[in-house]
Symmetry: none
Subunit: 155 residues, 2 copies
Amino acid sequence: MSGFVSHFTNRLDAKGRVSIPAPFRAVLARDGFEGLYCITSAHCDAVDAGGNELLAEINKRSEAFAKLSPDHDALAVALFGASENPKIDGDGRMTISDMIRDHAGITDQVTFVGMNYKFQIWEPAKFREYRAEAQRRALAMLSGQAPVPSQGEPA
Amino acid sequence: MSGFVSHFTNRLDAKGRVSIPAPFRAVLARDGFEGLYCITSAHCDAVDAGGNELLAEINKRSEAFAKLSPDHDALAVALFGASENPKIDGDGRMTISDMIRDHAGITDQVTFVGMNYKFQIWEPAKFREYRAEAQRRALAMLSGQAPVPSQGEPA
DNA sequence: TGGGTCCTTATGGGATACCATGGGAAAACA
DNA sequence: TGTTTTCCCATGGTATCCCATAAGGACCCA
């Protein structure tokens, strides 16, 4: 059963809402998470989004340290403090919060990028830029050296 | 369903009250704790807050030492002496006690930071500072850690 | 193959509910 | 009796719910 694939660009309306691409909604429905789990990416101007599968990934990371310890607190702030649970309305839309808007530099359009177990939320121009760079790197990796450790589908 | 997530900044009113963010109230309601459990953090200028899940974590800590032992007594004093049970009024507000105010250096605004099983209460400026540091540490911690099966992330 | 119909999807907008906040009055306290 | 706490209500702004519409695609049928 496949996860989030392909990418879509939708418009924000006057209220700051945007339609989540229908194929992504279908994946979320299968996943069973109430609403959407979002977390700002630590290493690029995008927001990771998904359901239980993404949340499990985050939890796994934070469980590596004992609760109430300074390390765990710092990690929890960085992970959960930078997360959100937007609701999805009856028409399949979410509202882009200020946190997401600021982190991703979104103004009037949003690009949703499937990444199998999660998807990312981008400002369209920044995504095009990032994508071109990613393709260059992928090409270099593929042509340059030994088999890529392919434990997932090639994005 | 996930726990305390995201962060919110609210104003104190003239009576020293502040609204607990609605999403946090929803988590507390699910948790079933009457009111709120607060304890000053031992290693930063913040106050830990939550319900039964936080309390259980603290109990687990103190149970690691034999009761009646000097160690246990000292820990109990440190833990429960630094604790409070503020009430939550009908409008979802709590009063910031002097202990919390002093420990966190709060004046007129409060930042609530979700950390999954608990949340923290911060003075906004101090939080921004801590958050920047936490993100650096988290990045280091996560990248040094045993490889999380990163299927797809082109980073 | 061409045309028509139905359904899904993205988007817009009005009405309503919720939430943070302020303040008054009753109650408890000292 | 003065002071603080607790309960209750008011309000402005925002988010949520609900309905409308247009465009595109799938499907069916001739």
